[in-house]
């Protein structure tokens, strides 16, 4: 066997969705170099790390928004860029951070846009689409908003509508870029509980999260990043301690069990 060009032994992907030795850059600026990540199937993975550590960039490479300059992101052993756009969009769904709805669109019609990869030129609205949209509206708890224009909704409602849109895509893999930002704490917990429920129903969820305590409570698998590298990964209880938080966030803290659920909880020290 010939050695891979980087000289590192590249282990074959252990999971359906995996990055092997990828380097991510915007123009000349390299954000991440030689990163490997196997996305644990059927788990809720949270990617944490300080601002500008490359977590969103890593997520973007999994959904074909950024082409790695070296290495590959593969799905079922094949480069994600090698798929027909609609075929890979039936497997991996993504909710970006910045969202803008078309003017004047009703919630139901926006959620229906999630069906795009399942539709063809001559069949833009099937009974199957109808069912998927109905279920997605119900799962995200926005059924009663279905006929309202999106621009009239509150921030929390609007975010749940966008989640419903990605759910309507009915992809086994769901990637979310800071889905809870801009939401009040009640809506944050509701949304995270929804993602955990989706995981329980068999979907694989990967989210970039800012709140470490929430990540520890809801995720099965944490990926901690700093300066474009993956510093640690594993179950929250196995990897989160004061030393890791100090290393990744440069924040002195103690780690105690969350009094409500027992998962690790960080408390910054003065």
């Amino acid at each position: 066997m010939t050695a891979p060009p980087t000289g590192r032994p590249a282990a074959p992907p252990a999971t359906r969705l995996a990055a092997r030795d990828i380097t991510l850059a915007y123009g000349e600026r390299v954000v991440s170099a030689n990163v490997d990540l196997d996305v644990v199937d059927g788990a809720f993975t949270a990617i944490i790390g300080p601002n500008a550590c490359g977590k969103s960039t890593l997520l973007r490479s999994f959904v074909r928004l950024l082409r790695p300059t070296t290495g590959t992101v593969s799905f079922d052993g094949r480069d994600v860029f090698g798929y027909q756009p609609k075929a890979i969009a039936r497997e991996i769904g993504f909710l970006p951070q910045q969202l803008a709805a078309p003017e004047n669109i009703a919630v139901r019609r926006l959620v229906a846009r999630g069906r795009y990869p399942h539709q063809s030129l001559l069949s833009t609205w099937s009974a199957e689409d109808e069912r998927a949209v109905h279920e997605a509206l119900a799962a995200a708890g926005v059924e009663e908003l279905a006929e309202r224009p999106v621009e009239e909704l509150s921030g929390g409602q609007r975010q749940r509508v966008w989640v419903a849109m990605v759910l309507a895509q009915e992809t086994p893999y769901l990637l979310l870029d800071e889905p809870t930002t801009f939401l009040d704490i009640t809506h944050q917990y509701e949304l995270l509980a929804l993602f955990a429920r989706l995981r329980d129903e068999g979907r694989t969820v990967i989210a970039v999260l800012h709140d470490i305590n929430q990540a520890c409570r809801f995720a099965d698998h944490l990926v901690a990043m700093k300066d474009g590298r993956i510093v640690a990964q594993g179950a929250p209880a196995d990897i989160v301690d004061a030393a890791l938080i100090q290393e990744v966030f440069d924040l002195p803290c103690v780690v105690v069990p969350d009094p409500a659920v027992g998962t690790p909880m960080i408390v910054p020290t003065p």
Partner: protein, 339 residues
């Protein structure tokens, strides 16, 4: 807002009831205006004379079928084509100002046509190819100049408006430098006019526009999906680069084909998609209402142009420019105020 689901075997689409009703009303308005256009002349015909002439009976068959009908048909088809071009570019730029007549694509197409007349011999094919090439070059120049800020943004619009001014000046310069008879022909045409259009002139453009419309039908679903933003468009399965290239080609094709025959007719591409959108209350910038509104607007403007100073017929572009100028100023104010 209630919607209808139309099914035929494995094929099905969902349409809003209001869009269907508004579209039917626009078709009705178009037909009524067409009838008026066929009646109008130095001596007016009655609607029943028109209908029998269309069926090939009566004394005025030649006048109505061979003289007036091509002009009315051209106004409808060209208006629809301009409306579609406007909708395509407004979708591409996600901006109501991102219309081919505002950002200089009409002017570029006209430059191409002028070059075809003055440098080459100016056959119909050269005119068509010249205007498409001119429109595409203008689009390419705007694209390169606004690369930094991305395709959607006020910067692209401002660069386009500047491009429009430059190309308009170039066009005047070419007209001034041209031989007298060419210049006279070009000047009448530079305002955008349907005067003296006959069947021989419009046959090929109608075919081209029909073909472009078919291509657009295949792209429309992806185009509307891309209104969700680049990220969601890509991750929901739109092949965005290919889509954009095809949309630019179709949009420039729609506007340049009209320009090659009738000169640069402004305002229709700018206003028709937005009027259609408001009438239907639809999300985004829908294509069918834009095409129908464009057809109605251009035909109405052409009738006004012929009646205003009758018996002298104004170029239709004068009418559309006068109305469009006011609309453009209002739109610019609103756009600049937007956060």
């Amino acid at each position: 807002m209630s919607s209808l689901v139309l099914r035929a075997g494995p094929y099905s689409v969902m349409v809003e009831r209001r869009t269907v009703l508004v579209s039917l009303a626009l078709v009705g308005a178009g037909l009524a205006l067409a009838l008026a256009g066929l009646c109008r002349g130095a001596s007016w015909a009655t609607p029943s004379e028109v209908l029998s002439a269309l069926a090939g009976q009566g004394d005025s068959v030649v006048v109505i079928r061979d003289w007036r009908l091509p002009r009315v048909a051209a106004a409808l088809v060209f208006g629809a084509s301009l409306g579609l071009a406007g909708a395509v570019f407004q979708n591409l730029t996600r901006n109501a100002l991102g219309s081919p007549d505002v950002i200089g694509l009409d002017a570029g197409a006209y430059t191409g046509a002028l070059v075809a007349i003055t440098v080459l011999s100016g056959t119909a094919a050269q005119l068509a190819i010249g205007s498409v090439a001119g429109g595409l070059l203008a689009a390419l120049a705007i694209y390169v100049l606004s690369l930094k800020s991305g395709l959607s943004g006020l910067r692209l619009i401002v660069i386009g408006i500047a491009m429009n001014a430059i190309l308009t000046a170039v066009n005047s310069w070419i007209e001034l430098r041209a031989e007298l008879e060419v210049a006279i022909a070009a000047t009448g045409w530079s305002a955008g006019s349907l005067n003296g259009v006959d069947w021989d002139e419009v046959r090929l453009p109608f075919l081209i526009i029909g073909g472009l419309m078919l291509v657009l039908v295949t792209l429309s679903h992806a185009m509307h999906q891309s209104a969700l933003g680049d990220e969601l468009a890509i991750t929901s399965g739109v092949g965005l680069n290919r889509l954009r290239l095809l949309l630019v080609l179709v949009g420039v094709g729609c506007t340049a084909t009209v320009t090659a025959i009738a000169g640069p007719i402004v305002f229709i591409a700018l206003a028709a998609p937005q009027i259609g959108r408001r009438l239907t209350g639809a999300a985004g910038v829908p294509l069918v209402p834009a095409a129908l509104t464009g057809a109605v607007l251009l035909l109405a403007a052409d009738l006004v142009a012929q009646l205003l100073l009758a018996p002298m017929a104004l170029p239709v572009g004068v009418v559309t420019t006068a109305i469009g100028g006011c609309y453009l100023i209002w739109l610019l104010f609103r756009e600049v105020k937007r956060p």
